[in-house]
Symmetry: C2
Subunit: 256 residues, 2 copies
């Protein structure tokens, strides 16, 4: 089963399209681990997957504290995504991917800007070898995203200016990505990317809540999964927050 299928099955089973971003701010190590586990325990029934970032990897250690979190996620039958945004040369990308897959992650994120040859090719090959997923960045959720992801690029073949993120969406199709990331803060970009990808590559949308993205707009544009961090983890009642976000997303999907 491909990662695309694994997360879709989880989403059906959990009746949720919410991916929990476990990106807690720095604090003492035992507090960080304890808090992260508590949040995961509280919301596991409301989400379809968990996403990790360097917030956890760097202080806790990939083969140390992070193992406890990955084990817990597996116990809840939740797929895990490492949001490492791989963007190095191929030989290094391969080693990064191997470490994350070996540690137990089901998928990782990568930046198509590095190109295919000696760049992304080894990432996709490693994913295939391990039978895991690759999700490509297509348009990020922050303001400066327009500077790179939003720029107009001259395409040699067509001799026409084309938006960078449209070029990336095309690459996601060509390279066989399991998903793409488009910020919920840019719903019109989600729509455009969805028109390129159709149903073959699902869209993952971060930036809901604290960053200003609206679930309804993202879903209407074509987002399949909503990545939510602080709007769950930094609230008084993470369970209630996750429940409410899940229902909002389900409602938005039901009227599509």
């Amino acid at each position: 089963m491909s990662f695309k299928q694994i997360i879709e099955e989880s989403s059906q089973k959990k009746e949720s399209n919410i991916i929990l971003a476990l990106d807690l701010p720095p604090t003492e190590l035992d507090v960080l681990l304890h808090k992260t586990l508590m949040i995961l325990d509280a919301v596991e029934g409301q989400i379809c997957a968990v996403k990790f970032n360097r917030h956890l990897i760097l202080p806790l250690g990939l083969f140390a504290g992070v193992q406890k979190l990955l084990k817990r996620a597996k116990e809840y039958d939740l797929p895990t995504i490492m949001d490492c945004k791989i963007n190095d040369v191929g030989s290094t990308n391969k080693i990064i991917a191997e470490h994350y897959y070996n540690s137990g992650f089901d998928a990782l994120t990568a930046n198509p800007f590095v190109g295919w040859k000696e760049g992304m090719q080894p990432v996709f090959e490693t994913a295939k070898q391990y039978d895991r997923g690759v999700i490509l960045l297509v348009f990020m959720s922050h303001e400066g995203s327009s500077e790179g992801y939003g720029q107009e690029v001259f395409v040699e073949k067509t001799q026409l200016p084309t938006s960078q993120y449209e070029i990336f969406a095309q690459k996601a199709l060509e390279w066989g990505a399991d998903g793409v990331v488009v910020g919920a803060t840019y719903p019109e970009r989600i729509r455009r990317v969805h028109s390129i990808l159709g149903k073959s590559v699902p869209i993952y949308s971060p930036g809901v809540g604290v960053q200003g993205g609206k679930i309804e707009d993202a879903v209407r544009g074509g987002a399949r999964y909503l990545i939510v961090g602080r709007a769950i983890t930094m609230t008084e009642d993470p369970l209630q927050a996750a429940k409410s976000l899940k229902v909002t997303a389900q409602k938005a999907i039901s009227v599509l």
Copy 2:
């Protein structure tokens, strides 16, 4: 003293422009740590700085095994660079940078493609706060680098197509980067970047040796530092290899 000054002083003192990339392939943890320390001990007199990548961070742990390596580098008075190629949203970038600076690194690498607002701005602010360095990727050493870094971008202000890497070089100037990375495999790009940056932002060139880059070409183009990994670490005699590379670089610089 800025990182730009710190590494230049180290380079003068050690009479070397070679930065050792301690990117060893995966193996058992104690072997990896032992081998890395052995190579560092052997070549410390021939190099001006040390660069780390995820080859060491992910298996050894930033606040675990990596601390032993950073301590050893400090004992040799060698500046340390974390080649993390930061390319996330600003709030995450800040946390990544804080972790690496807190762990002891003197500088880190980052990808200007994410843009300034809510992207690179927090990285440069964190660097300033910690009094450490930021080195920006301008053109990478691998084949696929041309796909993104080499593409032609439509610039709104001038209404002209401009090479992506030239745009990045301009940003390095504007943002006050301590250095830029341009692959030794593309000496003509080094020359072009050098013509934009002059002496204000030094060029770091990886890709010498195994990847096919030539020290003489890179130096003639305007590279100030040569980043060398496998051409030192994977040889029978790392000291001899480092010595020979150092002399080649010094000779190339002396005839400029």
